[in-house]
């Protein structure tokens, strides 16, 4: 054999599986996840209805809260971590998110511009019924 050391690594873990934990620790994980999710949800609902914050900041806040909550779900319920045994799962997720971002972002961007360059529809031919 050559001068190289051949190392055999262990396999990845399945998406959704956790590294070895006791039942107590696993339950605790879900409890924490649930608590955080409920907290974030409550915040979202509160912010959406309140007059206490600067109004234009509300949409931004809602989106940030939603993304945070998705993160909580991913970590505490789907057990997606940054560990090396999770690389494949995270890469797939990243690819999916990239596509989601491109499709949604691209569509909104493109469609907004199409509308901008149109003469106002309801003025040239009122079609509403």
């Amino acid at each position: 054999m050559s001068d190289q050391t051949h190392m055999h690594v262990e396999h990845d873990i399945a998406p959704g599986d956790e590294e070895q934990h006791s039942v107590g620790a696993r339950i605790l994980g879900y409890v924490v996840g649930l608590a955080l999710a409920l907290l974030l949800t409550a915040t979202s609902f509160f912010i959406a209805g309140t007059d206490l914050v600067w109004q234009p900041s509300i949409p931004v806040a809602l989106i940030v809260l939603a993304i945070a909550q998705m993160g909580v779900h991913l970590v505490f319920f789907l057990h997606i971590t940054t560990g090396p045994d999770n690389t494949n799962n995270v890469l797939a997720l990243a690819f999916g998110l990239l596509v989601v971002f491109l499709v949604v972002g691209g569509t909104v961007w493109i469609m907004a511009h199409l509308n901008q360059n149109m003469p106002p529809m309801d003025q040239i031919m009122p079609m509403r019924n």
């Binding site: 054999m1 050559s2 001068d3 190289q4 050391t5 051949h6 190392m7 055999h8 690594v9 262990e10 396999h11 990845d12 873990i13 399945a14 998406p15 959704g16 599986d17 039942v23 696993r26 339950i27 879900y30 409890v31 996840g33 649930l34 999710a37 409920l38 949800t41 979202s44 609902f45 959406a48 209805g49 509300i58 949409p59 809602l62 989106i63 809260l65 939603a66 909550q69 998705m70 779900h73 991913l74 319920f77 789907l78 494949n88 799962n89 797939a92 997720l93 690819f95 999916g96 596509v99 989601v100 499709v103 949604v104 569509t107 909104v108 469609m111 509403r128 019924n129």
Partner: protein, 213 residues
């Protein structure tokens, strides 16, 4: 099997650090199955993203019909959300019970998940039926089209999830915690949690942002 000397160090060790991490061979079935399902979920999320995009484009097109803020009821949405979040939690408990082969907790966890899912569906159905009866069905305007499709698509997924959930319970009842059934249980849990993630996007983008508008 001992190997004879091999030619060249071309590919596996580009930086010549002397350590080659050897691929250990085909992954165990649990990983293969779950990974395949994970990839499916991502594709499902891409599908949802199209309905989100359509909603974003059409949300303002009310065609003289009602806008979001006129028809959304935040209290219902809040109850729906709590149902789903709790059901994600109980689904997690059922997974743990399945892994530890605890039938009682498994059935309990799944049953509660099922009930919560059904409550969610009932509220949603109620909301839809109410809108349609007021003449605000999906063919009223492009906004309502997009709204019904997006939220309804999620609802259909939850319905499919409930069917799957019942099948899982029946399977455990008939066959016990066999390895292949545990694999399916894992996929089911992934599915259920993923639906929750999509719901987070739905209530934030559709209901909360929409009722502000």
């Amino acid at each position: 099997m001992s190997m004879t000397a091999t030619a060249g160090h071309a590919h596996a060790d580009p930086h010549h650090i002397g350590i080659v991490v050897e691929h250990p061979g085909p992954a165990p079935k649990r990983i293969v199955t779950a990974y395949g399902f994970w990839v499916f979920l991502l594709s499902d999320i891409v599908m949802f993203s199209c309905f989100f995009a359509a909603y974003a484009v059409l949300a303002g097109q009310t065609a003289g019909g009602p806008s979001g803020s006129e028809i959304f009821e935040q209290r219902n949405v809040a109850i729906e959300t709590v149902c789903l979040l709790l059901s994600s939690f109980t689904c997690g408990m059922a997974s743990i019970a399945a892994d530890t082969h605890n039938r009682l907790w498994f059935y309990l966890g799944m049953a509660v998940t099922c009930v919560l899912g059904l409550i969610f569906l009932a509220i949603e159905f109620n909301e839809f039926a109410g809108l349609v009866s007021r003449g605000y069905g999906p063919s009223r305007s492009a906004f309502l089209t997009a709204f019904f499709s997006l939220v309804g698509c999620h609802g259909l997924h939850v319905s499919a999830g409930v069917l799957w959930l019942l099948t899982m319970m029946a399977q455990v009842f008939a066959k016990g915690f066999r390895v292949d059934i545990l694999r399916r249980m894992m996929c089911f849990a992934l599915f259920w949690h993923a639906l929750d993630i999509i719901w987070v996007a739905v209530f934030s983008v559709v209901y909360l942002l929409g009722s502000g508008a």
